[in-house]
Amino acid sequence: MTCAPLPRCLCVAVFGCLTSLGVCAHSASDAYLTLTLQKPGQSVQSAKTVVHGQWDIALRDLDFVLGLDDNGDGHIVWGELRRHQPQISEYAYRYIHASAAGKDCKIKPMRQMVDYHADGAYAALFFDVECDGAPKGFTIDYQLFFAIDPSHRGILVMHSGDNLATSVLSPENSKIDLDL
């Protein structure tokens, strides 16, 4: 115990903030979900509506849940990431679902790359959402990381023709209806 007079020892966390310069630093957890409706005529399967997706998930966040840094040296390198790519896919796609007109749409993982944002490197997961027929809209149900970090946010951008929709996905706003 570092704080004997107290019944517990939370005081250490408060120490740092008990200063005039106690601005707390940030870099919270975000993932970026960009969806683009495939133009009519581009689809090989005309009986389906296809939305292309790119999902950028921070390597820092993935390391916390999956342990990407195999040798524990504090650096994730290409080889380590490559080894974990199937595991990343398997994990991430468990937490995203799509449906249209009451029926599940299929999420088809395509490929995985690396993208960079201002706060670091991200795994970029490319996928297609395939919904039967030509629904007027569909629903995304997003649950990534919420169980382990309620402050995680999914920053969603949807391009549908000339229309652009944006939303911030959170535990309180995890399902979003999007026009097609």
Binding site: T2, C3, L6, C11, V14, F15, D63
Partner: protein, 368 residues
């Protein structure tokens, strides 16, 4: 290398993993959950990484959602909310905790912190007396010692805090670094730069990677015209947004070839924060707008808004700096009033205030 992450050999990372495994085994153990939450909060604070506050919140969630959550879990949660600058929500949790456990020194200390950050010093005075009653004499002295430095009694602060050097709860490095950090700030209030630097160095000698201390010392160095030392100090801390702003300011001060790049990345980070709906970086955003984007009007708007939420000396200072740069001394009137009421000592703030007040008087003199 693609990404830097906490190394497995880090003792705190090891501790986190052990506690996580223990909690997975015994999911109903509040004490294990609180220990883990505490390690997360502390680690995130040191690193300047808000992810860990989220991890801590998730760990406490099963108890927070109970009809009558344990007071200690409410205080933990309030600490997390305070860390995110969600002050009103943090106060609400502390109120619940104190209703259940009126003598919780920890709850009073957290409340004192919030009252000080928001400039409600009469309330903080009361909180500190309760800290002493419930949390022990030494924490009470630390609370009062810190508080007095905002009330024109910085010399008394120095005496009070000086008594805590080398003693205190457990005398852990973290505790001692906290006291040294407070002393450094009090010395800055008094314009004693030599002593301030000695205390900063002592504090960083104890906890070298602490984000708060690093950033505070970086500001000290920037003020003293020593930006090249900021680059060395924060070399490994660029993942923290607050540290990154100081790196960008240092690069700009040095007219480095990559200064523009740093400004651009900082802008992107603020945009990312805005995209997620976060709005608790007022002070940093003011400095960014003022000194890196050279937009005094935007800086003044941000500073005015920030003043509604936070009233620590740096909030006051950036408010005055923005009003001065925007040639709108009247805009800073609330801050100037606050300065006179509280009698805050700070040579940098005093000089700024004097300039703005003489501008205000000139305008009154020139009025028809």
């Amino acid at each position: 290398m693609l990404q830097q992450v906490p190394a497995a050999a880090d003792p705190q990372v090891r501790q986190m993993r052990l506690l996580r495994a223990a909690l997975d085994k015994d999911q109903g153990s509040l004490s294990t959950a609180e220990q883990l939450a505490q390690v997360y909060i502390d680690f995130g604070r040191q690193l300047g990484d808000a992810h860990y506050a989220g991890y801590a919140e998730a760990v406490l969630r099963p108890w927070l959602t109970q009809a009558a959550p344990p007071a200690s879990a409410l205080v933990d949660y309030a600490t997390i909310l305070q860390y995110r600058h969600q002050f009103a929500e943090a106060r609400a949790q502390l109120k619940r905790a104190l209703a259940a456990q009126p003598g919780s020194g920890q709850a009073w200390l957290t409340l004192a912190t919030i009252d000080m950050v928001q400039g409600d010093y009469p309330a903080a005075t009361h909180d500190c007396s309760q800290v002493a009653a419930g949390g022990g004499f030494q924490l009470g002295i630390a609370c009062v010692g810190n508080l007095r430095s905002y009330l024109g009694q910085a010399k008394q602060s120095l005496v009070l805090l000086g008594q805590l050097q080398g003693v205190g709860p457990g005398s852990s490095p973290t505790y001692q670094a906290w006291i040294e950090g407070l002393l450094a700030e009090v010395c800055e209030r008094l314009g004693d730069w030599t002593q301030a630097e000695t205390h900063y160095r002592k504090a960083l000698g104890l906890v070298p990677a602490d984000n708060f201390l690093q950033v505070a010392y970086a500001d000290f160095l920037l003020d003293r015209g020593r930006p090249e030392e900021v680059l060395t100090l924060l070399r490994d801390s660029s993942q923290s947004d607050t540290a990154f702003l100081r790196l960008a300011l240092a690069k700009a001060a040095l007219h480095s070839s990559d200064a523009q790049l740093y400004t651009w990345i900082m802008a992107a980070r603020f945009e990312a924060l805005a995209a997620r709906g976060s709005d608790y970086f007022g002070r940093e955003q003011v400095r960014f707008a003022l000194y890196l984007q050279h937009n005094p009007q935007v800086a003044l708007d941000l500073a005015t808004r920030n003043w509604q939420v936070q009233r620590a000396p740096w909030d006051l200072r950036v408010f005055l700096e923005a009003a001065d740069a925007a040639h709108q001394p009247h805009a800073a009137s609330p801050a100037l009033r606050f300065l006179h009421e509280t009698k805050l000592e700070d040579p940098v703030i005093a000089t700024l205030a004097q300039r703005l007040e003489s501008q205000l008087q000139d305008r009154v003199g020139k009025a028809p």
